[in-house]
């Protein structure tokens, strides 16, 4: 009889599939190189566990998670969205933890021949600056506060946010309402001076901002992990913003409610392990508290 043989064969295949554990991760785009490497290293050590990662902007992933996106772990580019998940009861209590500090860089196309530094932004050839959209992207907010700190943007007391806007702290700015573009709220005169034109272009997420800087604007305020790798590293050079010079990007992860399975916890422990931290640092993240 051949039939039992076939049944045994398929049962074996299915059994393997069932036996293989899967960890599903939703992660901010600035993690795309670092997390890829971490996953490879983790899978090598934990045969039978497969890690699947979806990248996107933290805001989009948050919105999708609240609508039932299947994921076990959420690595946000800031602390806000994991907090919101927790507040909505969608996170496993007590699992929210900062895993890194995001760092902003000014990336410049090497062909411009400019010395890396914010002074370069005053060059008349810099007519467009790519940033992530500060309305929803943490890196965009960090970029704006960085420019503000160095006096390249000045808050307008006559803008749509009213007279009290200049006195707000970075955390108090109602970022999600800044839909009229940076120029409506900040005076860009220091960046505009002596140029035929100047304006921001807004990426849907930090990776999109990086792509625009690479392909079109020649300059962008980006995430350090992105400019250390691949074509951005080849085509340009960067200046790293000092710690504390912008709105902190307290990158935080959280396990989603009811998902603290052994393999998920294993992956979480690996991220926290010395090896995991070394990897994160190698890819351009500062560790919490550094």
């Amino acid at each position: 009889m051949r039939l039992p043989g076939w049944i045994a064969f398929w049962a074996a295949i299915l059994g393997l599939a069932w036996a293989g554990a899967e960890v599903r991760v939703a992660a901010a785009s600035d993690l795309q190189y670092a997390l890829g490497e971490m996953v490879r290293a983790f899978e090598a050590k934990n045969p039978g566990v497969k890690v699947v990662v979806v990248y996107g902007s933290s805001g989009r992933l948050y919105a999708q998670l609240t609508q039932g996106l299947e994921a076990d772990l959420f690595f946000s580019a800031d602390g806000l969205y994991p907090r919101l998940l927790e507040a909505r009861g969608l996170a496993e209590p007590g699992t929210r933890r900062a895993y890194a500090q995001g760092r902003v860089v000014l990336w410049l196309d090497r062909r411009l021949g400019l010395k890396p530094g914010l002074e370069a932004l005053k060059d008349p050839r810099i007519t467009r600056l790519a940033i992530a959209n500060p309305v929803h992207a943490p890196y965009g907010r960090a970029a704006i506060t960085l420019l503000e700190r160095y006096g390249l943007l000045r808050r307008r007391p006559d803008g749509p946010l009213g007279r009290s806007f200049p006195s707000l702290s970075w955390e108090e700015i109602p970022w999600e309402r800044l839909t009229q573009g940076v120029e409506a709220y900040w005076d860009t005169e220091p960046l505009r001076r002596g140029k035929p034109q100047f304006g921001f272009v807004y990426g849907e997420n930090i990776a999109h901002a990086a792509q625009m800087a690479l392909n079109a604007t020649g300059a962008g305020l980006l995430a350090l992990p992105l400019v250390l790798q691949g074509s951005l590293a080849e085509a340009g050079h960067h200046w790293l913003a000092p710690p504390g010079s912008h709105l902190p990007l307290e990158q935080t992860y959280v396990i989603l409610r009811g998902r603290a399975r052994p393999e998920v916890l294993a992956f979480q422990r690996w991220v926290e392990s010395p090896e995991g931290r070394t990897l994160l640092r190698r890819y351009g993240f500062a560790l919490p508290g550094e």
Binding site: V135, H136, A137, R177, T179, Q180, G203, E204, Q211, G218
Partner: protein, 225 residues
């Protein structure tokens, strides 16, 4: 009522969509006509190339359009203009990416014409423009209209291409679809819902207006003369 920024974005979208549809009419009619009736060497290749935007995902198409329009792209080299992140670039991108839909609709409309009518019109010694005005356009305009409307709606709702080419600059290149998306990203769901509702109403009003116009035109055609 949605916030003022919504109306700015909506107006921008309507402007881009109207301009793109107008250019598509101007460009699409002769192009679709020659695809429908003329033989020329390499025609299958031309047809395939014109349909290519259908194959590419909008963000990918937008990426290549950005390279095309960017500071060192071919468009800059040919015309001296940098249209990336500009209104003009959005219009050009919308034209290119709606071209396949529009051309297909126009060509079908032309192919539905009875060729005998055109031949007889020629033998009647009438100048070409009168044949177009009195025979071709009156018979094909519903097809042209629906093709153009398709392009208009398509442009109004397009996201991927304009995201890549436009750079989401409020008041300049942030079209209503992107504005809505940004609201959702910023977790302002109530505002997003209001804006989406108004957008739906506006689109519905446009579509109904066109249908009414079409019906009135038909009624008028069948009672006069």
């Amino acid at each position: 009522m949605p916030e003022p920024q919504f109306w700015t974005a909506l107006r921008l979208s309507l402007e881009v969509a109207s301009l793109a549809s107008s250019f598509l009419l101007l460009l699409g009619i002769p192009l679709a006509w020659s695809l429908a009736f003329h033989r020329f060497p390499g025609k299958p290749l031309v047809e395939a190339v014109l349909l290519l935007p259908l194959v590419l995902p909008p963000t990918v198409l937008g990426f290549y359009l950005l390279l095309f329009l960017g500071p060192e792209g071919p468009w800059q080299r040919i015309t001296g203009l940098t249209w990336a992140f500009r209104f003009e670039g959005l219009v050009l991108a919308s034209v290119l990416f709606s071209l396949p839909f529009t051309l297909t609709a126009y060509r079908e409309a032309f192919l539905a014409l009875d060729p005998n009518l055109l031949e007889v019109a020629r033998t009647l010694g009438v100048p070409r423009w009168r044949v177009w005005r009195h025979v071709i356009l009156p018979l094909v305009w519903p097809g042209l209209l629906s093709g153009t409307l398709l392009a208009f709606a398509h442009t109004l709702g397009e996201f991927g291409v304009v995201l890549m080419v436009g750079g989401s600059i409020p008041g300049k290149t942030q079209m209503v679809s992107i504005y809505l998306y940004d609201l959702v990203q910023a977790l302002r769901f109530a505002e997003a819902a209001r804006a989406a509702f108004v957008l739906l109403l506006v689109s519905l009003a446009i579509l109904v207006a066109v249908r009414l116009l079409e019906r009135r035109w038909r009624a008028w055609r069948s009672t006069t003369g």
